[in-house]
Amino acid sequence: MTARERRSRRHGLLLLAPALTMLGLLTAYPGLYVLWLSLQHRVPVFGITEFIGFGHYVFLGQDPRFWSAARTTGLFTVVSVLVEVVLGVLLALALRAQRRGRGLGFSLLLLAWAMPAVVTAKLFEWLYHPSAGLINVLLAHRTLNWLGDPGLALPAVIMADVWRTMPFVVILAHARLLTIPTEIYEAAQVDGAGRLATLRHITLPLLSQIVLIAALFRTLDALRAFDIMYVLTGGGPANTTETLTIYAYRSLFQMLQLGFGSAIGVIVFGLVMAVAWMYLRLLWREGLAA
């Protein structure tokens, strides 16, 4: 390394320092503090602070409410992300072929995406209304108890979430479709590939990387899902829509059990990191293969 390179490197580090300091203060410090909190029995309202090591984690290990929330979080994440990705890619393909009304289609999709989750949830509360809701009216005036039936509440929440976030996948996939050179398709045509073969051997492989990225973002969001079920069902009935973040929220802000709630938060954090790491590995492999 020449002196000039060293100087430039020092200079670079100096320029990075403010950003690193901010990240440290705003991310690392609170993160470590939550970890520390999760090792304590801490109820500040009653002046209780007591170090209990992994006590909360041991309790959570055999806590049916925790496992039910973990199951709900997993189910919600897998189903909603899967449906969003499949529907999103299909819609992107349909929109590409669409000559007229594409702008309108995108505007409508963006509207759903731009709406705050709380507004969406309120909207769906009315759509799911047992007797006056549009969804039951469309289903030939059935009186399905969408939000009050333990078997229907989670599907209802997932549908609302799919409606809200599927546009994100559509737009990313569409952007990628626009960058695929038309020469490739022409070449395929010359080689005699049909539409299905073109889709299978050209379009989908070229989409896979962006779809993985979309799925990564959506999965991380879904694992931390909170507002849509908080407003629609409050976690009920019988906790069938309570996710880990709702359980953490109730423990932290309603029961004011800071240590216990933090332990749930730490578990969600670990889960999100593990899933993100798996996705990144997949992406690296894709990146090398491409």
Binding site: H41, V43, V45, F46, H129, P130, G234, P237, A238, Q254
Partner: protein, 433 residues
């Protein structure tokens, strides 16, 4: 400025907080307060919905009577849960951001234990609390001291359709069996598939706990016994839960009450789609609104009991005005709380369907002219019973909501829900006694 920060030891206990404090000090030096000498009180309260908001004129009146005091009114989030979260974060963070604060009646013991409220007893005249409903005064009192002035009053009651009951020559039901047989007769006679029987609140939230408590009381038991024992009489509690589930199974209540809150049930009844409804008194004004389909057809009664002559108490609710222990102007803040809870101010507040805590106002001819049912509501409120008065109320409620909900949707037996709830509560409560 430095001295003032040092008064709050918990602020300086962590490096991040120190950094924040430093920013505050630096920021504080930049601007001088515009008018010295004048006191500004911050009043935190939930906004009043509807066409009339009596609070701003009342605050201007207070300012006119107290030269040198200005009141800044700040609204709280919508729901009780979010308000609790707001207070917990700000008060635990020792924020001196507000003086007079609106409190849900169920929070008082918890906030007192946390040291967030100012003891109002030294400011009070000895007989001052006697003007309020005894249950409201009791819920503002903890450990023998008074921590809030009752501001508005609520109690659960039974709404019924006068026109339908008259058509079948029924009197308002006094027992649950009467209510059930009336629903069956009226539904059979009306042949309207949209007409539901009895609506109440069964969504997994605080309102569910209120409805279950009322069922417990009707069955002669409670959530907390005399010595703060949980579920002192599990047999009767299980019976009450089974009764609520039975209402749904028998079709007396529609299946969707398991997702109903106050507004969902209020709207269905208000649209004319139900015979009976359990709700708070606020709904009455909406039912009597000029464009309401049920205008002039709604009566109120106590919640039915298990046996005749033993009407069940409705749960009481409402809010108090308390004073933050961090308030820099406790005397002025108390004057404001006392003014806002005075009979004069509550008379104005009643225009927005907030029911007074002063018993005398329920027999005030002026008010009765606009609200002929006031004396009746007075009786119902007098008969009401508060939810368990304990600093752990929110732990109780949050833990039991899913258990009760599981009974209503039929995935847990009442007995198992009670056992599971008790086991969880013991884990959380034993460690914080």
């Amino acid at each position: 400025m430095l001295v003032r920060i040092a008064q709050y030891p918990s602020v300086t206990s962590s490096p991040l907080a120190l950094l924040l404090a430093a920013t505050l000090i630096l920021g504080g030096c930049a601007g001088e307060s515009p008018d010295r000498g004048a006191i500004t009180l911050v009043f935190k309260h939930a906004r009043i919905l509807g066409p009339v908001d009596p609070i701003p004129p009342l605050l201007r009146e207070f300012e006119a009577r107290h030269p040198g005091v200005r009141v800044k009114s700040e609204s709280l989030p919508w729901t009780s849960d979010e308000q609790h979260q707001f207070y917990a974060i700000n008060l635990e963070g020792a924020s001196p951001g507000f003086d007079v604060m609106m409190l849900d009646v169920i929070w008082v013991p918890e906030f007192v234990r946390a040291g967030w409220l100012l003891d109002l007893s030294p400011f009070l005249d000895p007989t001052e609390m006697a003007a309020y409903f005894p249950s409201a005064a009791a819920s503002a009192t903890y450990a023998g001291r008074v921590w809030g002035l009752p501001w508005n009053m609520n109690a659960g009651m039974l709404y019924y359709r006068v026109d339908l009951l008259t058509r079948y020559r029924f009197r308002p039901p006094e027992t649950w069996n009467e209510l059930i047989s009336q629903v069956k007769r009226i539904q059979a006679g009306e042949r309207d598939p949209k007409l539901e029987g009895y609506l109440w609140q069964g969504k997994q939230y605080e309102g569910l706990v209120v409805n279950v408590l009322e069922a417990f009381w009707a069955s002669g038991t409670d959530l907390l016994g005399a010595d703060d024992r949980l579920f002192p009489d599990p047999d009767h509690a299980a019976e009450a839960l089974a009764f609520l589930r039975g209402l749904i199974e028998a079709g007396i209540s529609p299946r969707w009450v398991t997702a109903a809150d106050e507004e969902l049930s209020r709207r269905a009844f208000g649209d004319g789609h139900a015979i009976f409804l359990r709700n708070w008194p606020y709904a009455l004004d909406l039912f009597e609104a000029p464009d309401s389909p049920v205008r002039g057809k709604v009566g109120i009664a106590p919640l039915p009991g298990r046996t005749r002559s033993a009407a069940a108490p409705g749960s009481t609710g409402g809010s108090h005005l308390g004073i933050s222990r961090r308030s820099a102007h406790p005397a002025a803040a108390f004057a404001l709380a006392r003014f806002l809870t005075s009979a004069h101010a509550q008379r104005e507040m009643s225009k927005a369907a907030l029911y007074p805590t002063h018993e005398a106002l329920y027999h005030d001819p002026d008010l009765i002219r606009h609200r002929p049912m006031l004396p009746r509501i007075h009786e119902l409120m007098l008969a009401g019973r508060p939810r368990p008065v304990t600093p752990h109320y929110l732990v109780l409620s949050t833990t039991l909501q899913p258990e009760f909900s599981a009974v209503l949707v039929g995935i847990k037996s009442p007995r198992r829900a009670i056992d599971d709830g008790r086991r969880r509560l013991e884990h959380f409560l034993v460690s914080s006694r």
